[in-house]
Structures are given as C-alpha cells and as structure tokens.
Symmetry: C2
Subunit: 707 residues, 2 copies
C-alpha cells in the first residue's frame, strides 16, 4: 500500500500508540517511525472519525474562496460568508478584495439537500473533506455536515514556513452521538445575549449541536411571556430576554447547526414565578426573588387544577416560541417541604392514594407530560422524573449518575448524560474527558439499549459566573466534552487531548470568546496600579492556583454568597484548571521516573522552584494596597514555602544529604499546610513537590520510593 493511500482510522492509531507506549503528541512520535501516520500540525478537536494523510499542503492565499455547488440555501451561503470572515481573522489575510486567479486553490462545497427546517435530533451530520495541494472539496448529504466540515477546515489551516496552509488530508467524519449539548444557566445570573452568541460560536467550533437554555430559577424568570407578563415583569429584576431576542438567538444557533432546547424548571426551583403569581404556589405568598443559592421550599401546588390550566396556556405560548421538538421541564430537587406543610396537599395525597411527596411529583409529572405532549413536544427532565409509568418518548437527563441513565435505557427511555460534565465543579478537563456516556453502568447495556443513550451535555450552572468570567469556566475545557461526544470512544489519551485543546484555546479567541484576556483584565483590576514586576508576581501566583472543587466554595464561605456578591476575586478570575501546575506535575513525574537522572529536567524544575520561592517578595507590596490581593497573601507565602521544600528535596536528590524520617516529616508538613485551601484556592504544585520529597526520602534511587 502506498504511504499516502492508507485509510487509517484515528482510533486504531491511538490504540497503536498506546500499546507501544509511544507519547501521543504528534511530533514526539516522529523518532519512532510513525511519521507517516501522524501529521505534526493536525490539531483537530474533536478528532474526526477517520483521517487519511496525504502529501504536501494547500496554500491559503488572499484569492482563496469557497464555491457552493449542488444544493445551496441561505444557511449554507451564510455559513460560507462566516467561514471566509473567520479565515481572514485567523490568517490576517484580506480575503475579499483580490480577484480570484485560476491557479489559486479554492474550496468546493457540494451538498445534496437541505436539512430539516426545524433541526431534528438524529439528522445526518456526516461530511467528507478532501484537501490537496490543488484545492479542497467538502461534500455532505446536507447543510449540517457542511457546517461541521467548514469548522474542520478552519482547524486545519495554520501558519507554515511558506505562508498559511492546510495539510493534504482526506477526512470522513460523523459524530458518535446525536445529542451533544451545552447547558447554560441564564437564570441564577442573567447572561447577556452577546455572551450566549459567542458561546454558540464556540459550540459550532467544536461541533456541539444542542444549546440547552436554563431559563427559570428561584433567582429569576428570564423569558418574556405575553400571556403572563407578571412572570418576567416581577420575576426578573428587568433582566429577561424578549421574544424577539429569543427568536433571534434561535435563528443564530440554527445557522450554526445547533438546536435550542428551553428549560423551565418545575415544580421546584420556582420562587421567581410566584413573585407575580403566588396563587400557584403550595404555600401562601407573598414571594420575593431569591438572592441566596441553594435548594428552596417554594413549589407549584400539584393539587390545584388552575396550575395545569396556567401551564397549558404558558407551555402553548413557549412551545410556539421554541420550535425544537424537545421541551425541558426540569423536575429536580423538590424538597417537599411546602407540600408537607400544607394540610390540603397532604389530604390530596391520601385521597388519591399517592406514594407521599414523590408520588405527588409523579402525579404532577404525568399531567405535565400530557400538556407538553399536547403541544407537540417530547418532554425532557432531570433524572428525578424517571418512572416506568411515564410514556417512552420522554428523555432523561442524568445529573446524579450514570446508573440512572443505564436504568432508564433498560426501561426503554432515551437519556443524555450530564453527570461528570458539570463545568462549575472545577474538575480538570481530563477528568471530564474520561467520563463516557457508554461507560460504567452503561457499558453492560445491550446494543439496542445503548442506542437510547443519545449523548450528553456539559452544564454551566451560574452561581459563581457572570458575563465576565463565564467564558473561562466553559472554554477551552468544554472542547474535551465535545470530543468525548463526537469522536470514536477509543480517542481518549489525555496528553494528546491537552496538546490539541491548548491550540484550540487560542483559536477560540478569534470568535470573541474572552476566556484568556478577561483573566488578564480581572487580574489588573485586582492588582490596581501595579508595576510590571508586581503584576507579574500576581500572575505567577494566579497561574498555579485553582478554585476549590465541587461544592467546597459554598461550604467554606465565611459569609454565604448571593446573587449580589461581587465576582471580582482571584478565585473568580483564574481559569478552573492551572496549565502551569499540570505541566509542572508532568515534569516532576518524568524526572522521578528517570530516577532523577535527567539533568535537563532537573534544571528546569529548579528554575521553576526558584522563581516561585522568590515570587512572594515581589508580590508583597501589592498585598498592602489591594484587599483583593490581601486575601491570597497566605497562598503566596505557601508557594514560597513549598518551593523551598522542593528545592531542599532537589538538592538532596542531586547532592545527597540527610533525608531521614524527621526530615521527611518536616518537609511534608510544609506541603500539607500549603494544601489546606485559603481564599478558596488550591495550590496546585504542592502535590508534585510532595513527590520530590518522597523521592528524596526514598534515598538513592528516586524512581523507587519506599513502599
């Protein structure tokens, strides 16, 4: 077989490199004779289903253009225009003013037919993209595949020794799952439309296809209702989306191959509804918009027939506004207190022989499902709504675990996974990446049952995010989840994922996403009028800390946060994952694995530790001037101290010295002290420094620490 003509599934590549213990980063593979298999600059994310590499590359010149052949429509020509704008931004070349020369490579797009007027679950999203030195051809059965192929091409283009170019390649691509979503909670903190738009652009870049819009909460009702205007007028502090704005956003998403699924959370999470309509609540009003975070008592009264009449009319209005076939009704976290406290409701439960509050919620869900169904929609709900007596067209979104998703599939229900994909918990991208909708409990399902697992959704709950920092909570890490949902299951090497994710991260800024530069801006606010050296010292510290994980922020707050709390602290500004911290950890792992014989690595580790040890002195003047810096002063000191401990360990490893138990205990105590969160921050290099201490303590061979 000729080198350039081997169809090669990326997944087999990955298996190969894994079995050979080959580093999966492309360039490193070269020395191992894999150069024909892996393209150095192929930074595609998500990884396509199959990739065949050719020879040479296609130059991107100012005369480059796109020709639409076959079926064309407004969506496609709009996409081609956006594609050209994006390419111009990405390259800095002027794409529009030059005449096309016959010799300039161009892209031909051939689409067979349009996609459905209202985008549907399960439409064909496949495409084929062929790039050679003469030009590119993108073919797809419909618009959706073409949209994905254009994004792939944009990721192929990069700067080269001779200009901008795309490598010669043949890609055949199709998604693993049909439901690949991002949920944004626009209710706890209102998220302006422009922020949603740029995040939808980001979704398009990583081939996600569902924007799940969480629109009502205790803290706000965010949609204009013309039938029930008191909902938004009294329940939103004036922060809501008009119906025109919503139609505009749906059209915007549609142009990018993205469905919009609205969520109105019922019967709990509903305080904001009752500010204008206390008559539907289970307890007497009046109600005010909730400002605290947590689970609250107010809930709709399932025993009140007027509630269903209201919901019927309300859902009729919303079903028309949101054209997608799926309609999310929430259904999570009803604590039952309002029902328990209302004798009339308890009497109803007895009279109807319902199984307590859970039975009452099921009663409510069945009636709600009927209403949703009546208006032509399929109901989606969080996993609490799962009950075998509900019709099979509902979809379960699992936030509590993969077991409930597997259970739903066994019972014949379709499901989407969000457990493991909560962006607000601050997990590493690698940890999200390791979660597979068909993993764990779902791995044992039959093929037919597996078909019912439609995909997954990352979730951005917004207690601690606003327009300023939401991008840095979602990006670039959401790309790891997007890849999990698009690419073959076997694509799962985290190092390769990180390498590509960092490249993508810079590209995402061309879309207007602010995950990188708002970090800098927010640090400037925190630092105030600082010298360059002082600012760099703050940045050095901020680069190696992460916010506390899961729900620790709530649990450790001295005073509970509310929707009025300013999000201007270091914990709000920093990315959720420290790249410097992770890369330092990898360096230490390699060094220890080399029995500390890799002098180059040793020198790099030392240089880093010296910089950290000396950083606190540069940082000090700032802490006198800014309350926002003062709260991280203890962490700055911790960094200096663990760095000193690391240097002591490195000295011992390189030159010997007393590293007895007492020494180890003393150094480890420094690390343990530093690992206690302060200012709701975690000091990421501490764990790697503990490894250096352990290695030094283990004596001569640092690769074999004591068991």
């Amino acid at each position: 077989m000729g080198k350039a003509n081997v169809w090669l599934r990326v997944l087999s590549l990955m298996i190969l490199s894994a079995s050979l213990h080959v580093p999966s980063r492309a360039q490193e593979s070269r020395s191992l004779g894999l150069q024909t298999l892996v393209q150095p600059d192929l930074n595609l994310m998500p990884v396509p289903a199959s990739v065949q590499l050719g020879g040479g590359s296609m130059r991107i010149d100012p005369g480059f253009t796109v020709f639409l052949t076959g079926h064309t429509d407004a969506l496609l020509s709009g996409a081609a225009g956006r594609f050209m704008d994006r390419l111009a931004k990405q390259t800095g070349l002027l794409m529009t003013t030059n005449p096309v020369s016959a010799r300039t490579p161009i892209m031909v797009v051939r689409v067979d037919h349009d996609s459905k007027p209202v985008q549907e679950l399960g439409e064909d999203e496949s495409y084929a993209l062929e790039v050679s030195s003469n030009g590119a051809t993108l073919t797809a059965p419909n618009d959706l595949g073409a949209l994905h192929g254009l994004q792939t091409f944009l990721q192929l283009v990069s700067v080269s020794p001779d200009g901008f170019a795309a490598p010669a390649v043949i890609i055949k691509d199709t998604p693993r799952f049909p439901w690949r979503g991002l949920m944004i909670d626009a209710a706890r903190h209102f998220i302006p439309l422009e922020v949603l738009r740029r995040n939808i652009d980001g979704m398009e870049a990583v081939k996600m296809n569902v924007f799940h819009w969480h629109l009502s909460e205790n803290q706000g009702f965010r949609v204009e209702s013309r039938k029930f205007p008191k909902l938004h007028e009294m329940g939103s502090n004036g922060l809501y989306y008009t119906q025109d704005e919503i139609r505009g956003l749906i059209a915007y998403a549609r142009e990018r191959g993205i469905r919009v699924v609205p969520e109105f959370d019922l019967p709990g999470h509903s305080t904001a509804w009752f500010v204008g309509h206390p008559e539907f609540a289970s307890a007497p009003g009046p109600f005010t918009i909730e400002r605290r975070w947590g689970i609250f008592d107010p809930a709709f009264d399932p025993t009140n027939e007027k509630v269903y009449k209201f919901l019927d009319e309300f859902i009729a209005e919303m079903a028309k506004l949101f054209p997608d076939h799926f309609f999310h009704v929430g259904g999570d976290e009803v604590n039952g207190k309002a029902w328990g406290a209302n004798p009339k409701i308890q009497e109803f439960i007895r009279a109807h022989d319902l199984k307590g509050n859970a039975g009452l919620q099921l009663y409510f869900n069945k009636k709600l499902q009927g209403i949703v169904s009546k208006h032509g929609k399929s109901m989606v709900g969080w996993d609490e709504v799962l009950d075998p007596t509900l019709p099979k067209d509902i979809v379960i979104q699992s936030w509590r675990g993969q077991a409930s998703l597997a259970e739903a599939a066994k019972q014949g229900y379709r499901g989407i996974l969000s457990n493991g994909y909560y962006l607000d918990l601050g997990w590493s991208a690698a940890r999200h990446y390791a979660v597979d909708p068909l993993g764990d409990a779902a791995a044992g399902l039959s093929p037919e049952e597996k078909q019912r697992i439609l995909g997954g959704e990352s979730c951005m709950w917004s207690e601690y995010v606003n327009a300023e920092n939401i991008d840095s909570r979602i990006w670039p890490r959401n790309a790891a989840i997007a890849e999990r949902l698009w690419s073959p299951q076997e694509v799962r090497d985290p190092a390769w994922m990180y390498a590509r994710m960092h490249v993508l991260s810079a590209q995402l800024e061309w879309l207007g996403l602010t995950h990188q530069h708002n970090y800098t801006r927010m640090l400037h606010r925190i630092a105030g009028a600082a010298s360059a050296e002082e600012f760099n010292a703050l940045r050095t510290l901020a680069d190696v800390v992460e916010p506390v994980k899961d729900y620790t922020r709530e649990q450790t707050a001295t005073e509970p946060a509310t929707s009025d709390t300013a999000l201007n602290r270091v914990v709000d500004a920093i990315p959720l994952e420290s790249r410097v911290g992770r890369e330092f950890g990898e360096m230490v792992d390699k060094y220890v694995a080399s029995s500390c014989h890799d002098a180059g690595l040793g020198a790099m580790i030392r240089a880093q530790l010296v910089a950290w040890r000396d950083n606190d002195a540069k940082f000090r003047p700032l802490e006198q001037r800014s309350y926002l810096v003062k709260e991280v002063a203890a962490t700055s000191l911790d960094l200096a101290e663990v760095a000193s401990a690391g240097l002591a360990a490195l000295d011992a490893l390189e030159h010997g010295g007393n590293t007895d138990e007492a020494w180890k205990a003393q150094q480890s105590a420094v690390v343990q002290q530093a690992q206690r969160p302060k200012g709701q921050l975690l000091l990421m290099p501490a764990a790697a420094i503990q490894k250096l201490i352990d290695a030094a303590s283990a004596g001569g061979s640092c690769a074999a620490p004591r068991q």
Copy 2:
C-alpha cells in the same frame, strides 16, 4: 497652613520636584518628605489644573449611585448611566440591584445649564470635583464639564486595602486649549464604526474633544452621498459609511463631549472621487481606486466651473450631514503634475495671471472657501492653504512644522498643531509629549497671537493600520498628547507621564479597546500551534522591538505595500513603543550613574541579559514552522548576541578584565550590527548595552566614560 487645606497647583509641584531632582513618581517621593504633597495612587491623566489633597477616602460600595441635581437633560442622564456601567466594570461590583442605604457615600452632580445643541469650539469645559469620605460633589457650568469630571472620578477610583475607594480630594479643572483632537484616517484603510466608537470612548477618557474624520483619499471615498451616489458606489469597494451611520456616530461623539469635524481632501488626494466622476479631474480618465501608498497625480481641475457647481452641491449636502461649524478641506500635497500636463490649465494660469500651480491652488482655495462659507461653515485646511489673502475665519492645521503655525497666528489666523503628533511615525510617547503647541516658534508670539493657537490634534494615518491593530497605534500613547493639550504647560516630566500612562492603559481595556489583547492574539497567529515556552520566547523578542520610525517602512520595503497587503507580521502586531526596552534603558542609566556600585541593579540587569541571551534557543523551533516568525529570526539572534556583549561588559565592570580599544571595537561592532533594522524592526535594548560597553571600556569608574 493645615496639611489638608493647601491649594496646590500641580504645576508648582512639578517645578518643585524638578528643582530638587526628586524622582517624580509619587511613591518614591515619600522618602524625601513630600508625602503631604503627592498622593501615591493619584493616577490622573490628563493631570488636572489644580488638585488639593484631603485626608481619607470615599468607599465605593455596591449602593453607590449618582444623583443629578440642578439642570438635567438626556445627555447628562445618559452620561450618568454610562458612568455607572463603567464603574461596575472597573470594580466588578454590582451597582444596580442593591437598594441605596442612607449611609452609603454617593455622588451629587450639579450642572447649571446645558451646553450648546451643536457643541461649539470654546464652550466652557471646566468642572470642580470634591471627594470626601462622606461622598462626592461634581459641579460644572454645563454638561461638558460634568462629562470631564465623571471621567476624572473614574480615574480616582482604585482598589484599596479595604475595598474600592476614591481618595479625598478637591479638584478644579479646566483645559489649557479648546481644540484637543484625534484624527483617524478612515480612507486609506476603512475603519469600521465599532472601532471608531471605542476610540471615541478612549478620547472621552482622556478629555479630548474633537474627532477629525479623514473621509476621502486616493484609496477610497467613504461617505454615502445621496446627491452624487457614484462617489461612494464606485469609489469605496463597498466600504463606506451610510448617512444614518454617520449621524449615529456624531450623536455618539456628542454624548461624550466630542465634536466631529469631517475632512474631504481637495484638490489632491482625490483619485477615488474620479472613479465615478472623471469629468472633474485635470487629466482624462478612466480612473481606478488607488491601491498603492504615496502622493499621486490626480487632482480636481480648478479651471472647470462645473467643479465648483459640483462642490457647491456636494458641500451643501455634507454641511447638513455634519453639524459642526468647522469643515476640513484638506489641501495638502498637490504635486501639480496633472495641472502641468494639461495645456488648457496652463493657459488658464497665464490668462488669469496666477503664480503658477501654487497660484492656481490659491485660486481654487478661495472659491472653495466661498462655498464652505456660503453653507455656514468655517474652513479648515492643512498648512499649504495658508495665504494672507484668505479670510481670517479659516483655521490652519499644521503638519509641516510649528513655524507655519506661528506664522499663521501672526497673520491673524487660528491654528491647530499636528506636527509632532503623527501617531503613525512610531515616536515614543515622551517625544510627542515634549511637543507643545506654544513651544518653539510659537513661544515668541504675543499673548493675543497665542490665543489663536487653538490646540492640536494627534493624527492616525492608516497605511499600516486596520481594525485589528489601530488601537495599539493610538493607545495608550495618545493620552500623552491629550495631556499636553489639557494640562498646564509645566506638567512635562516624562517619567511621571509614563507611570500614569501605564495605569491608564489597563483601564482603557475596560472600554473595549484592544491595544493590549490584540497584541497577544496577533502573536498567537504568528506563532501558530506553539508550546507555552515557544510562545513566550516569541513574546520576549516582540516585547523588545519596535517598528522602524518615520517613513522608513516605505523606504526599506522589498516590495511596496498596498491596501491589499496583509498586516499580520510582527511589525504590525507589536506596540510602537517597547516598555521593556525603555525600562531596561532606564535601569542601565541608573546603574552607570551609580558608578556601577548598585549591586541590586547589576543583578537585575544580569538576569535580564541572561534571559535574552538564552531566548534564541527557545525561539528556534518556531522559526522552522512559521514564515511570520522566520522573518524575525535574525533579530532574535541579534538579541542573543547583544545580550552576550552586555554580559561581557557587566563581567568586566564587576570583576575587571581586558577592556581595551580592541575589545570595545569588537563589542561595539556586535551592537552596531544589531542596530541595523531587520524585518523592519529596531532592537531597542541595543543602545543601553552600548552604554554598558562604553562604561566597561572607560575602566574603573563606569560613571565617567572617556570624553
């Protein structure tokens, strides 16, 4: 006199600090007993006319608000709303949702009356701002002063040990000159409206009050003309402003206290007009839109009466569209070739006894002035238009030198200075800052003549700028010119200016200006998929180079740039002034002045030189992958080599060694080689390294190099 009650003119402060050789940065002054005179965190730019410091500060809490008392109007309440938004961004506090408590300090704004419906030259722009721990009061005779005072308050607010705060202060402020402008050339490169808007926001922040909009050029006619639609339809490649957009921008500027003066450059610089209207040219057509840069032959035919009929109708239309009293007609750089080549025109010159082509242009200008005047406007022109036979209401904008401005003032004409304020020439902010409209030739004018010098304008000619990099050419350096035009003449210490300018620079990013983060983005494009270390190496190099100055870029280009040339090179991405380079130079100056006895400085210089010396190795892999990096590879090597030379000099200074003439010649040759521009870049640290070499060569006492 009580400490806190001394009225203190900043100018006397500056004279004091200068005469004492006191470092002018506020904090450094402290050790010299000036702490009562200078407020450490008072980073105001432009410096107000007078400042009295009080004790304590006013907290900025979420309940902070502005109350308008006295006269109010839409402009003022709009400004208050924008002020609150800006304050919220700057502090990260939520300003809108909390109820105001009686104890929360607020700001009261009291304005006597509105400003003129169409803002006029010379309106009172003064204001008084009093801040105490109890609150703030801003008073102004009219809206304009209030706008300026709000901006001053925003600059007073900074992070403090206890939260955000503004120091207690009493400011009385008024501008030195009534005409403080920024000209943007939106014709050579079209500049989108959103870019103009954010630059107008920047102008408001530094109290500039004239936006001079350069709208026609050989390379484009940028205004919709309803009377003569062929002008924009055929002369703009579709890149023009509609009349609605223009009205919108004028309103936007008006809300910010900024007049908009349009410029239509006549009779030269006019190729784009003739694409649609060849009949008005001095040579037969057809004409095409010019893509090259430079001075071109096409010019209006002053002997053709139809030209004046056309201009009368055109200016009638434009005079209505642009409400400002001043109307700029250009008048510069007519090379006369088209006139010389046309026998009919030469015959006209003879027949009318005109003094050659210059006389013909004067003839044209007089008729043009009559038309402008007929439509109720005063004519502004570049200094070529100056002639004593023109009426005294015209205004001369001097680009060729201060002498012509002084000459105009003597003849009774009003003038504005732009010579010395050309932002595209890449001068340092300090060099612009040193240029004074009443300096040089103007210094000898009589008080009455000086009154005719209305102020000045910075000019952003756009051969090498587009929407992506224009902000970094204008900001923050334009603030130095704004200060020159607003603040007392005696405020002129460049070190103090730079200290405040760097603080302002970060604040300007809150307005959406991209001067900082587009630099990073453009470097990412240049680097492509780089590792963090590789990217930092590129950044380290980019941070110490500047584009070649003045018109050297044109003169050194291997192939002449045109309007189709991509502006994606390192020379396009970097700021025009290297902060790192400047600060390194200051460090070396101090070190040499200390007779090289300041060991701390020596260590810092050494650390910097080592980092530069070692940077090239980290940078190398990138140059193999990106053509945009490759062109700066020689400069990277130069940096390594001058750094090595600097280290050799530092070694000699610290430890002695052979530094004879041969050594000096050898080291200096390295520096001279590096000082030759490559890739149209200047390597800024080279000059300071030469000083180290000179000092080392001078032997024992480095403070006294050989005469």
